[in-house]
């Protein structure tokens, strides 16, 4: 199997996960595409040393979040304000009920959460249990539950 095909197999399965994680860190479409590429490359290279001590999905999510935080740091050094939405996104934070705007509302709201809360809520929305999140983050399950509760409260307020 050629290398592009193997990469394609991995991405076919996990590209949606990577895209969702990237969307929770970056609102700008162009930068988000760059971020997805960066994450995909990091995932591809990191998989060569995957030891199987967690699920592949967990491992990939870890790489994706790490790269996304790097991205946030790089962009903040360029004085881009990532916590504020673009004008278009802000205008969409209304009480409209169409599905597309609901999606944008949720993503926009998630982007406004502090990074620690954003990680937890994103992983929960991806279907990770609190036990899995705790083992990945190196936290106790109680700490994860506490952060998840606060993250949810903040998200409810934003929505």
């Amino acid at each position: 199997m050629t290398q592009p095909t193997r990469i394609e197999d991995i991405l076919l399965q996990y590209a949606p996960l990577l895209a969702r994680i990237a969307a929770t860190y970056e609102a700008d479409l162009g930068l988000r595409e760059d971020l997805i590429q960066d994450i995909s490359l990091a995932v591809w290279r990191a998989l060569e040393t995957f030891r199987g001590d967690s699920s592949v999905k967990t491992f990939i999510a870890k790489v994706a979040h790490n790269r996304s935080v790097d991205h946030v740091l790089r962009e903040s050094r360029r004085n881009k304000n990532l916590s504020n939405e673009s004008v278009d996104d802000l205008q969409n934070l209304t009480s409209n009920t169409t599905n597309q705007e609901k999606h944008l509302d949720l993503m926009s709201a998630i982007r406004q959460l502090a990074l620690g809360y954003r990680q937890i809520i994103t992983m929960q929305l991806e279907g990770f249990t609190q036990l899995e999140i705790a083992s990945v983050l190196g936290l106790s399950e109680a700490a994860v539950a506490k952060r998840a509760g606060r993250a949810r409260q903040q998200l409810e307020q934003l929505l």
Binding site: A19, N66, V69
Partner: protein, 184 residues
């Protein structure tokens, strides 16, 4: 799981951005090859420089001191290239995902980076002073050997670049640390 969270989950999944997987795979493959090529170019360049030093040692170095100096310096480019090659090839260890620990790791990395360039600048300054001394001795005794002068000139450029890099990193350190702390 409660109904609201389930609704959020559904909305989250439905909001997945569209990705052209084939195009992304081609791009990843291309970038991967480029990174690997850079790593090999680094390694080959280091080998070539070390090989040139050995050649110089065998063919041109005629005094014991010059032979000693070149012999001491010749493995350095190869060693540095090997280190850079392994660094590029090796995968970064995926540290704990917890944000606070990750940000703390990044803080330490920044401080280590500045320290590395500081030490490099100091060591190179010592080396430069030694070369200047040898060039001075050659000049005083009117030894018709431009080797030392050439080395001093080349080393001066390297020294300026190294100190420049250190000063730049030191100057921006506070701003970068502040940016990290703002994310906590």
């Amino acid at each position: 799981m409660d109904p609201q969270f389930e609704q959020w989950q559904q909305s989250f999944q439905e909001g997945t951005p569209k990705v052209d997987v084939h195009k992304l795979a081609m791009q990843v493959s291309k970038n991967d090859k480029r990174e690997k090529a850079k790593a090999w170019i680094d390694l080959i360049a280091g080998c070539c420089v070390s090989a040139f030093c050995v050649y110089f040692l065998l063919v041109y170095a005629d005094t014991t001191l010059s032979k000693l100096l070149v012999a001491t310096l010749s493995p350095i480019p190869l060693a540095f290239s090997l280190w850079a090659f392994r660094l590029r090839q090796s995968q970064s260890i995926e540290h704990s995902l917890d944000i606070n620990q990750l940000l703390e790791f990044k803080r330490k990395k920044l401080y280590n980076q500045v320290y590395y360039w500081k030490v490099s600048a100091i060591v190179l300054t010592g080396l430069w002073l030694g070369l200047v001394a040898f060039a001075g001795v050659s000049f005083i005794y009117q030894v018709s050997d431009n080797l030392w002068l050439t080395q001093v000139l080349i080393q001066t450029i390297v020294l300026i670049v190294t100190w420049g890099r250190f000063v730049f990193l030191k100057k921006h350190l506070h701003k970068r640390i502040t940016a990290i702390d703002a994310l906590r």
